[in-house]
């Protein structure tokens, strides 16, 4: 049962901005970035898009010392002591949820994991009713994963000002902490973003990871971001996001410094998007032979979980250029940094 809500909490989402008088222009005037508070500080982390380079850099800088916490005997810092972090997973996930849980616990927060796909949503409770109920339990931070693009924005617009929302993946839209941990990884191995050629390979259309990577890379000054894939798996007008489009993997990989592979979902492997996993691997799978076209010191990344033999050959996944496991380790530090910054540290 949900408690009666004050009328204000049921107002339509913010964003009703005054018409500025230009002919034919209504809402196109830029809205305030809903992730930043009045002082330009991070209030929520919903998407990389629209965040200034300084904030991205500060997150990466903040994460650096956190990598050492894991090496200590007592892997705890008191930065979130007394705070409650709710992991709200409306869509199943093991890895992301676990790394958020570890990150919060290392910061001494109290963590609650809720797999909502299996509880109240099936009883018909609305998303915002669920949020209201959990807010009444004095949550300080929501880590949200949801199958619909924009769910994290909706929640962020709805919650009280003292609650912070971290998007842990909304539909095809964004997965900002994944994008950030990828940037951390690239910076760790390559130091300077402004001289890199980065190739993102695979199902960009359905990938929230790819969108966050593209925004992070372009914001951090990477001069050439490429996307490689068949036309069925690239969004219309993807070039408007600031990327070069390739359909030939060999051309796209040439002289790349970083190769970022995307996961291909099982249900997309055969049908009208692709004929078969085998053909996909043949054309767009990363093999040692194709990787040889990239720069010799190129690194290979993957957000996991990997489909070996579909998007990536085991010889590459386990090879010397792969940095897939360090990505996971860095992910904890980056999530600690984000939580710590949101909590005002």
């Amino acid at each position: 049962m949900s408690a009666p809500k004050p009328a204000a909490s049921r107002q339509p989402p913010r964003g009703d901005k005054k018409h500025l008088g230009r002919p034919g222009v209504f809402l196109e005037t830029p809205l305030r970035n809903p992730q930043l508070n009045g002082h330009g500080e991070l209030q929520h982390l919903l998407t990389i898009e629209g965040l200034p380079r300084e904030i991205l850099t500060r997150i990466l800088d903040t994460a650096a010392p956190f990598t050492e916490v894991a090496e200590r005997e007592v892997k705890k810092l008191p930065l979130l002591r007394g705070k409650s972090v709710f992991n709200l997973f409306f869509e199943p996930s093991t890895r992301t949820r676990t790394t958020f849980e570890i990150a919060a616990k290392r910061l001494s927060a109290d963590v609650l994991n809720l797999n909502i796909s299996t509880s109240s949503q099936t009883k018909g409770e609305s998303l915002l009713d669920t949020i209201d109920n959990l807010s009444a339990m004095h949550a300080d931070m929501f880590v949200v994963r949801h199958a619909s693009s924009g769910a994290a924005h909706l929640i962020a617009q709805h919650v009280a000002d003292h609650i912070h929302v971290i998007n842990a993946g909304d539909g095809r839209h964004a997965h900002p902490t994944q994008g950030l941990l990828d940037m951390y990884t690239i910076r760790h191995y390559k130091r300077d973003f402004t001289r890199l050629v980065v190739a993102i390979v695979g199902d960009v259309l359905h990938s929230r990871v790819a969108r966050s990577q593209i925004h992070a890379l372009t914001t951090l000054g990477v001069p050439e971001v490429r996307v490689i894939g068949p036309k069925t798996l690239l969004p219309a007008q993807v070039e408007r996001l600031g990327v070069r489009v390739f359909h030939d993997m060999r051309e796209g990989l040439r002289d790349a410094d970083v190769v970022m592979m995307l996961r291909l979902q099982n249900e997309r492997m055969q049908g009208s998007l692709l004929p078969s996993a085998q053909e996909y691997f043949k054309v767009f799978g990363l093999t040692p032979e194709k990787l040889a076209l990239a720069r010799p010191d190129a690194i290979v990344m993957h957000p996991g979980p990997m489909n070996r033999g579909v998007e990536i050959d085991s010889a590459v996944a386990d090879g010397p250029q792969a940095v897939i496991l360090p990505q996971v380790t860095f992910g904890i530090a980056v999530r600690m940094a984000v939580m710590s910054m949101l909590a005002g540290n």
Binding site: G15, L27, A236
Partner: protein, 429 residues
């Protein structure tokens, strides 16, 4: 009841009247324009100094949500919204529950609308039973009960043989068929225009070719069957060009657009604003600009509110899960005026698109000020500005992208058959 409307600027787009002319009403009709008939003694005099008197607006599509969706809106709430917006004649689509596919339902709805004594209702009947695209409705019976045209609303007939026969059957009797051109397969799952914004936000796109491919089919079938086809809610520049070409080739086809597509485009979705979740989707800025030009030059014949009241529960959801549609009846006049001001469209021409031109598509005697004609009038203050808010809207649907906006034009009086059915609470300061 005899009414004397004093000192308005009277505009009747159909006859080209645009002048200071007093209007004299008696027995529900206009009995004098400029001069009172002999022996006219008004029971009531309305001071319309500074106001425009135009024909009551004619809206081609307003969802009243009855029967079946009374939790979203009721006939009474939406009819009040209509007259508050200056609308005196409106047509409602048949996507109710059950759909308007039986004469009894249509008669009942018409009867209930009549007994409210507000705007006049002209239902559009379902083209196929339950809008399922399989069995034809009894179009002759439905016409007798008051349907003015037939449509499938958002449920296109997938089987092209059924589509051909439906159009042939309608053409037999000279009925008009209103269809919204959208290919069901290309639009499947889509919630936004396939373009930059859908790419950025990760929303499933509806490509422009969903409109143009269906249009090509419909125009071809219209040629073949000779049916009177009206294309509802165009959304793209390419689609408009096809219709323009077909008209130039002599095909008797008309089209309309909704008010939201006249003013908004894909970028207005901003950060997933569910009020901009519309069907057809808001398209690119270049599409919107083409629609604006098309409406001004007349290649689009009518503008409609496409009024779709949705309750908060239907909108406070992630974008793709939210219900499509926006409330529009009370924004029809202000958004028409805003377009006219922004694009320097003569007021009379702009008003034509929501009065006589729309009435012509509807095939009813409305949307004109003429001696002997029904005294359906809208008196509005073109200088006043109204702030759109949840409180200002009479409609039960508080879902509008224009909440919080100030728009030009305040309806002061609405008259239907010579009765004042709406009067603004107090003059705008």
């Amino acid at each position: 009841m005899k009414i004397h409307i004093r000192n308005p600027r009277s505009i009747d787009p159909a006859s080209g009247l645009d002048a200071a002319r007093d209007l004299f009403l008696a027995a529900g009709r206009v009995v004098g324009i400029g001069t009172a008939p002999d022996g006219f003694h008004a029971n009531r005099s309305i001071d319309a100094t500074g106001l425009v008197a135009c024909p009551g607006l004619v809206d081609l599509s307003a969802r009243l949500r009855e029967p079946g969706f009374e939790y979203r809106a009721t006939l009474a709430s939406e009819m009040h919204a209509a007259v508050a917006g200056g609308v005196t004649s409106l047509s409602c689509p048949p996507d109710t529950d059950p759909p308007l596919d039986e004469p009894g339902l249509v008669e009942m709805l018409k009867y209930r609308a009549r007994s409210l004594g507000l705007a006049k209702l002209y239902p559009v009947g379902a083209l196929t039973m339950r809008l399922a695209g399989e069995r034809l409705t009894e179009m002759a019976e439905l016409t007798d009960s008051g349907c003015v045209a037939f449509t499938q609303v958002h449920d296109p007939i997938i089987d092209t043989q059924v589509l051909l026969r439906a159009l042939q059957y309608a053409a037999t009797f000279g009925y008009t068929v209103w269809l919204q051109p959208q290919d069901p397969y290309l639009a499947r799952g889509g919630v936004a225009h396939e373009g930059e914004v859908s790419a950025r936000l990760g929303l499933e796109g509806i490509p422009t070719c969903a409109e143009t491919i269906r249009l090509a089919q419909l125009l071809q079938l219209a040629r073949q069957t000779g049916v009177r086809l009206h294309l509802a809610r165009l959304s793209s520049a390419d689609g408009l060009e096809m219709v323009r070409q077909a008209r130039a080739d002599g095909l008797a086809v008309s089209c309309d657009i909704g008010i939201h597509h006249l003013h908004l485009c894909e970028t207005d979705i901003g950060y997933f604003n569910p009020h901009c979740h519309l069907l057809p989707p808001l398209r690119a800025r270049s599409d919107r600009d083409a629609l604006r030009r098309g409406l001004a030059e007349g290649s689009i014949q009518a503008l409609c509110s496409d009024h779709t009241p949705v309750d908060d529960d239907g909108k406070q959801l992630p974008f793709a899960e939210s219900e499509a549609g926006a409330s529009g009846l009370e924004m029809l006049l202000p958004l028409t005026l805003k377009w006219a001001m922004d694009d320097n469209v003569p007021l009379s021409c702009a008003l034509a698109r929501i009065t006589c031109d729309a009435a012509r598509i509807l095939g009813v005697a409305a949307g004109r000020i003429e001696e002997g004609g029904a005294a359906d009038l809208c008196l509005f203050d073109p200088e006043a500005r109204v702030r759109i808010s949840r409180e200002s809207l009479h409609s039960q649907g508080k879902n509008s992208p224009f909440l919080g906006h100030e728009l030009p034009g305040q309806v002061r009086y609405t008259l239907v058959d010579g009765h004042v059915v709406f009067e603004a609470a107090r003059p705008h300061a």
